[in-house]
C-alpha cells in the first residue's frame, strides 16, 4: 500500500498555500496532518499530482479568545483542542469530542481544519461544530469569507470550500454554561461512530448526528420538537426524520435510525 508518485510542495504561510493552489489548480491537494488524505493515497483512491503540505504553517495553529467566540486556527491539532483550558472552559463539548477522534497517535497529528474539510459524515468533529453553531473562515483569491457550519457540509466528502480556497480558522461560540453531551456508539473504540450524537443545550437546542447521511447533519426534527416544548422522549423519537443513513457491515439504515433515537435520548437526558 504505497501512494502513487506526486510532487511535494511545503508551504509556510497561508498566502503561499493559496498561491500553490492558484498555480496547480485541480491537480493539487492540501495536506494538513495527512490522516485523512494519506490513507486514501495509500490505497490509490486519491492520486493528486501535487501535494501541498500546509501542516507546518504555524500562523494557522492557535486557540484564541476573541471575545464572543473562540478562534481556532485550522491547523490546530486534536490533542491541542482536547487539552486546551480555554476550550474546556468555553466549549467543553469540543474538547471532549476532540478526545474521541481515532486514537491518541491520530490525535497528535490530525487537525481540526483537516477533519472538517474532509467532510466525512462519520467524523466526530463536524458534529461538534454543528451542535455548537460554529463557523469556518476560508480564504481564497477573492478574499476571506465566513461560512456557517450549517452551510459548510454540502455532499459526501464535499464542503463549501472551493478548490482554490484554504480554511484558516474555526470560530466557536462561547457556551460556558451550556449543557452538552456527546454519544458515540461503535464496536471498537478506535473506529468511526456507527452513529454519534452531539447535543448542546444553551437556551436553544442544537443536536447533530454522525454517520446518519451523506454529510454531517443536524437533527432538525429533534431541534424543532424541543423548540416547541416536546419532551425528551418525544423529541428523540424524531431523531431519524429526514436522514438517509448509510448501510454497511455495522448495520443497516433501520438499525442506524433506531440507534439515532436511542443516542439522542441519551444525549438529551445527559445534557438536561
Amino acid at each position: 500500500m504505497i501512494p502513487a508518485t506526486f510532487d511535494y510542495l511545503e508551504v509556510d504561510s497561508a498566502d503561499a498555500a493559496l498561491a500553490a493552489l492558484a498555480e496547480h489548480g485541480d491537480e493539487a491537494k492540501l495536506m494538513a496532518g495527512g490522516h485523512s488524505l494519506i490513507p486514501l493515497m495509500k490505497f490509490r483512491l486519491a492520486t493528486p499530482a501535487v501535494v501541498v503540505d500546509i501542516g507546518r504553517i504555524s500562523e494557522l495553529s492557535y486557540i484564541d479568545d476573541s471575545g464572543g467566540h473562540i478562534a481556532i486556527g485550522a491547523l490546530t491539532r486534536h490533542r491541542a483542542l482536547e487539552t486546551s483550558d480555554l476550550v474546556k472552559a468555553q466549549a467543553p463539548i469540543l474538547a471532549h469530542v476532540a478526545g474521541q477522534v481515532g486514537d491518541p497517535a491520530v490525535r497528535h497529528r490530525g487537525t481540526l481544519g483537516g477533519s472538517l474539510a474532509h467532510g466525512d459524515p462519520a467524523s466526530d468533529l463536524p458534529a461538534a461544530l454543528l451542535a455548537l453553531g460554529g463557523s469556518v473562515v476560508v480564504r481564497g483569491p477573492s478574499g476571506e469569507r465566513e461560512i456557517a457550519a450549517s452551510d459548510f457540509f454540502t455532499g459526501f466528502l464535499e464542503t463549501a470550500l472551493a478548490p482554490d480556497e484554504l480554511m484558516t480558522e474555526v470560530r466557536i461560540p462561547k457556551v460556558p454554561n451550556a449543557k452538552w453531551s456527546y454519544q458515540k456508539f461503535n464496536r471498537r473504540a478506535q473506529d468511526w461512530a456507527i452513529v454519534g450524537v452531539a447535543a448542546v443545550l444553551n437556551g436553544e437546542s442544537r443536536v447533530a448526528l454522525v454517520n446518519m447521511g451523506a454529510t454531517p447533519i443536524q437533527a432538525g426534527a429533534v431541534e424543532a420538537a424541543l423548540a416547541a416544548g416536546a419532551s425528551i422522549d418525544e423529541a428523540s423519537a424524531k431523531a431519524a426524520e429526514g436522514t438517509s443513513p448509510p448501510e454497511d457491515l455495522n448495520g443497516d439504515a433501520e438499525y442506524r435510525a433506531h440507534l439515532a433515537q436511542v443516542l439522542v435520548k441519551r444525549a438529551l437526558t445527559e445534557a438536561s
Binding site: I2, P3, T5, G34, F43, P104, A105, H108, Q190
Partner: protein, 162 residues
C-alpha cells in the same frame, strides 16, 4: 517520477539527511533508508499502531506520515528508548509483566505507552486501555500489557493479578 526532496531530521539523537521520493512513507524511510527496522508495519489503514514512534515527544503512526512531513523533526524510535544498554522502565515493565509474546506489536505498543505516561503519569486502568486503543496485539489479550503500563507508572494493577 517526481523529483526527490531533501530531508533532514534527527532520529534517536543522530542527525540524518537524505534525498527521498516525496511519497516515501516515514516508516519506510526509517526502516529501509535508515535501517531502523524495530518500527514495524502491521496494517495499511492506521489501525494497528505497530509503526508508532515519537515525533517531538508525541506518539505518531509512521505509516500515515510522509517522511517529508517529519522534515526537521526530532524522532524517537524503539531503538532510541534504551539508554546505554539499560532498558527503559517501560521496556523493563513489559518484560517483568510478560507484556509481549511474538514481539511484533511491541515496539509500537511501548512507544504508545511511553507517550501516554508522558501526558498522564498516573493513568487509571481505563485510561491505559484508552491510551492503547490504536495499538493492536494478537498474542496477549492485552492483559499483561495493561499491567505493564500500570506497573511502569508505579501503580499496581487492580484486578490484573494473574
Amino acid at each position: 517520477m517526481s523529483d526527490k526532496i531533501r530531508l533532514e531530521m534527527t532520529v534517536n539523537g543522530q542527525s540524518h539527511s537524505a534525498d527521498v521520493e516525496p511519497r516515501t512513507l516515514l516508516v519506510h524511510f526509517l526502516r529501509d533508508d535508515l535501517g531502523l527496522t524495530g518500527t514495524n508495519v502491521g496494517c495499511d489503514t492506521s489501525s494497528c499502531g505497530a509503526c508508532t514512534i515519537h515525533i517531538d515527544g508525541e506518539s505518531a503512526k509512521s505509516c500515515t506520515m510522509l517522511a517529508a512531513q517529519a522534515r526537521g523533526a526530532n524522532i524517537t524510535t524503539i531503538e532510541g528508548l534504551a539508554v546505554s544498554g539499560e532498558l527503559h522502565p517501560m521496556q523493563q515493565a513489559f518484560m517483568e509483566c510478560h507484556g509481549l509474546q511474538c514481539g511484533y506489536c511491541t515496539p509500537g505498543m511501548v512507544m504508545a505507552a511511553t507517550s501516554l505516561l508522558n501526558e498522564n503519569p498516573k493513568p487509571s486502568e481505563h485510561e491505559v486501555r484508552e491510551g492503547l486503543e490504536g495499538n493492536l496485539c494478537r498474542c496477549t489479550g492485552y492483559h499483561n500489557i495493561v499491567k505493564a503500563v500500570l506497573s511502569a507508572s508505579g501503580q499496581s494493577a487492580q484486578g490484573g493479578g494473574a
